[in-house]
Amino acid sequence: MARTVIPFGPQHPVLPEPIHLKLELEDEKVIGVMPVIGYVHRGIEKAAELNTFRQNINLMDRICGICSFIHSLTYCQGIESLIGVEVPARARFLRVFWSELSRAHSHLLWLGLLADAMGFESLFMQCWRAREMVLDISEMTAGHRIIQASCTIGGVRRDMDEEMVREVEKRLIALRQLVDSSIHGVFLHDPTIRQRTAGKGVLSKDQAEVLGAVGHVARASGVAVDMRQTGYAAYGELGFEPVVETGCDSHARVVVRTRELYQSIDLMRRSLTAMPDGRILIRVDGYPVGETVSRCEQPRGEVIYYLKGNGTNHLERLKIRTPTFANIPPLLAMMPGCELADAPVIALSIDPCISCTER
């Protein structure tokens, strides 16, 4: 049988971002896949050395527009540990709130894109309708729909008053009802979704561990790994159990994410209830010295920042390992053996975020 190579991307309707996969086919079966990346490489790590460490917060916010708050949170936590700052309690709870808000928005976005990739357009519209509610909350609390930009070194930039907390509570309840009525059940039980995802893109628990999968890819394969277990920000006080499924396929990944959506809404409400009064920001003097590693859980998995400061206004080195980068080797293990028509769904099932990966 002759082999054909089909280019998938860089500009492709199901991909919001440019990644190029060379799919090697035998008949309709994919037997090999080779990723070609670099289309959105900007050189942020180098630019982070050229900027001052305070300017970098704005740059980190814009590594990825989807998980922007968690990027700046990870960066700020790294700088805080280098300078030795204790963040006020209220700020830590607000950080959890905005982290979970961006997680809810990212999960709804992904669920919608996945539905769109398998041609289920009305479900795509439902997910994005629910996502608008999340973005409204974001705009109300942080002043911007996508890039919250509310994290800073020593705390957060914005506070929420009583009235706003009550309004957010009300909207979160409405969001939960909408997810309940028109999203959760469809993803769990709809026969079309099951056919397109169940048994597709299988990654066994051993493979997930060996290949170093992170985030929902690992948790859908039965590996209970979630950086929120380390208790950064206020996750330690709020109590946290990772969502784990053992299906190992694309459907398990969908289930993990729909369950995490509920978990995020729940965590947001609990963080607002448990939030103590007090300051949201403390003054930070001094410059970062030494090196540290800062880890957080992004919607897509664990993000690692390595920071090295030399006591000046500029960082000596900033290295970012993003979750999609860790999930590309598992993707390459999932693809061989699948049908060509399933390739977009499997590629999307790891929720690739290329602008994070290439920076």
């Binding site: 860089p10 500009q11 492709h12 309707p13 919001p16 971002e17 440019p18 670099g38 289309y39 959105v40 490489h41 900007r42 050189g43 942020i44 180098k46 630019a47 050229l50 900027n51 704005n58 740059l59 814009r62 590594i63 990825c64 527009g65 989807i66 922007s68 976005l109 919608g112 795509f124 519209m125 994005w128 309708r129 996502r131 608008e132 973005l135 911007h144 729909r145 996508i146 890039i147 975020c353 602008s355």
Partner: protein, 142 residues
């Protein structure tokens, strides 16, 4: 205004290309297509094929690797075509201005008709920009 241009203005087809943005503007473009903003009621449809497209929506700054892909897409679009840049970084380089792999704004690579600033640009601003581009087709007829 001939019948072709009248049809174009009534139903412009968009091609979206992410040229290295942070995704912020891309998801706002997608959001403009979903129920809350729903640009499809104005006849605006998102296309995957450059040969079918009237308007190219570009997000993000141009860089060394994708400038060839970008000019390739532009070349494939039939006249009259309009290029709209969405987001501050696509207009000037913005927050990425000093990144080593970034060339600067999209206008370093292909001619741009409408600039939409904002980081990320709001869906209302994007719809406004598309309308501006269409007006220019109507005014010049090419």
């Amino acid at each position: 205004m001939g019948i072709m241009n009248r049809a174009r203005i009534k139903s412009p087809w968009l091609l979206h290309f992410d040229c290295g943005s942070c995704n912020g503007c891309d998801i706002e473009i997608l959001a403009a297509l979903t129920p809350f903003y729903d640009v499809e009621r104005f006849g605006i449809v998102n296309m995957g094929n450059p040969k079918h497209a009237d308007v190219l929506l570009v997000t993000g700054p141009a860089n060394h690797r994708n400038q060839r892909v970008l000019s390739n897409l532009y070349e494939q679009m039939p006249e009259p075509r309009r290029v709209i840049v969405v987001g501050t970084c696509g207009c000037t380089g913005g927050v990425f201005h000093n990144c080593p792999n970034v060339l600067g704004g999209i206008d370093r690579v292909i001619p741009v008709d409408v600039y939409i600033p904002g980081c990320a640009a709001r869906p209302e601003a994007i719809i406004d920009g598309v309308v501006l581009a269409l007006e220019s087709i109507g005014a010049h007829g090419k």
